[in-house]
Amino acid sequence: MVKSERKPIEEIKDSIKGYKNILNIGCGGCSSVCLSGGQREVNMLNAELNTLFKAENGSQKIDGYTIERQCNAKYYYDLPEILLNYDCILSMACGAGVQLAAEIFSNKPVFPAVNTVSIGIDRDIGMYEEKCRACGQCVLGYTAGICPVTRCAKSLFNGPCGGTNGGGMCEISNEIPCAWHDIYERLKEQNRLDDILKIQPVMMWQNQVQRTTIQEPYKERYGK
């Protein structure tokens, strides 16, 4: 799922300065799963901000409300009435949710409280690894299921660069494994080294333009 990380509190506080009544909208989807913006995190952030507000001047106040998901408009149904009492929205959803909220409530300022990091997997409680950059042209089939775009620091498509350290680590850090070293090891184990023997042609980058995805069975509905 989409993994995100809460912004530093100073940055959040700075972005909402000047607004008296703020509503912090949490997201029950990806933000909850990666423990960055669910109901519990909304309450925690509100407690911190209200404490800071009180210490300052006491004119600002923040309340919380968590909805199922912020990436689908139908989950916003009870917000318009609630928002009558607020002059600004702080959203703990990923970038997509913040944008939808800003679109639906176009007359109210919407501020993000989290930085969307990546599409990733869960390693352990609170630890998440980036795995996918949504390039739109998945090549995982020939790289033993290891993404060269995401995991290789240089997004190489043809084998490791000359910087692989002893122990198979990427040149930029001793803690990051070299993706191509791992691809080689795994393909060797599965006897599929031929996949990377041939030269992979240049990538036709699909993610340079905003994409609207319409699934095949629904193409007729939208006149395609």
């Binding site: 620091a153 240089k154 084998g159 042609p201």
Partner: protein, 308 residues
């Protein structure tokens, strides 16, 4: 003749090639480039001009190459995949060729994290092997990557880099094969200290017939001091410095360490002259260009052949 460059002529004639390297200045200082080039004049067949090496911004490789040509030295224009997309690459290739540059080296480039702009966006639109194939397509088919015809195709001598030592070791020679298949005319390796592994790698390359399809130039960097040896062993990515090197330098007095380093480099060059599959040596005397004449003399690679 694919390009008619001096290096190509030297290699085709069967001579043992000797090339050097120059790093452009961290500014627009023309004299700095020319001064370095003057040290190498007559000492080498061709000189590499690095491209924002270790991701530190310097005068661009093609610009410095032009100044080097003014000093009657043949440049090897380096292009890294980190800084340009495929459009800019093709455009720069055309411009460089139009100005008289005849050699090009295709590299991935050190990651931007190492340099003075660590949060810059690394382009990496295509990788080094795809770049080699791109230039070959421009030269031999006369077409851009997108397929359209080129008005006066660039005839460049295409080079690629090879690192015989990175992990996984068994895969390195296959990567070399891919570069050769993509169209690399010559290969320059990273600086070699582990001669044992180098012999093994060359042996594998010979077995695969790669040394008949491409010219391999072995990289040599003389150690200036024990400190440099230790630094290269621990902090430079992809470097394999065996303990014998460290010990030999330890054995020498501090003032004599540089001379010992040069002596070791010359011993390597002697072995490379005899090694099957090695067509020449690429000397990387980083920030030590004034020593190149002395090293060339000691390595007995002078005089350099003059090709017409």
């Amino acid at each position: 003749m694919k390009s008619g460059s001096n290096l190509e002529k030297v290699l085709e004639a069967g001579h043992f090639a000797f090339t050097g390297e120059v790093g452009p200045p961290r500014g627009s200082n023309v004299e700095a480039v020319k001064k370095k080039a003057r040290y190498l004049k007559g000492m080498v067949d061709m000189v590499n001009i690095t491209d924002n090496q270790t991701a530190m911004v310097r005068m661009s490789s093609w610009a410095a190459s032009l100044f080097v040509m003014q000093e009657d030295l043949e440049p090897n224009f380096q292009m890294v995949c980190r800084d340009r997309n495929r459009l800019a690459m093709q455009a720069d290739i055309l411009g460089a060729y139009a100005h008289g540059i005849r050699n090009i080296l295709c590299l991935s480039g050190d990651h931007q994290k190492f340099g003075d702009h660590p949060y810059a966006k690394g382009v990496f639109d295509i990788d080094s092997i795809q770049l080699v194939a791109l230039i070959k397509k421009m030269r031999d088919e006369g077409k851009f990557l997108g397929g359209a015809d080129i008005d006066t195709p660039p005839k460049l001598f295409i080079g690629a880099a090879a690192n015989p030592f990175g992990d996984p070791f068994e895969w390195r020679v296959h990567r070399l094969a891919k570069k050769v298949e993509a169209g690399a005319d010559f290969i320059q390796t990273q600086c070699i200290y582990n001669m044992k592994k180098m012999r093994e790698w060359i042996h594998q390359a010979n077995d695969m017939g790669l040394t008949e399809k491409t010219y391999i130039l072995a990289g040599v960097t003389p150690m200036k001091s024990l400190g440099m040896a230790r630094y290269m062993k621990s902090s430079v990515p992809g470097m394999d410095v065996p303990d014998e090197i460290i010990n030999r330098l330890k054995g020498a007095e501090k003032k004599k360490q540089a001379a010992e380093g040069i002596k070791m480099a010359c011993e390597q060059i002697e072995e490379f002259k005899e090694m099957k599959g090695v067509a020449g040596v690429h000397l990387m005397a980083i920030e030590w260009e004034h020593k190149v004449p002395e090293i060339a003399e000691q390595a007995k690679v002078l005089p350099r052949p003059v090709m017409n």
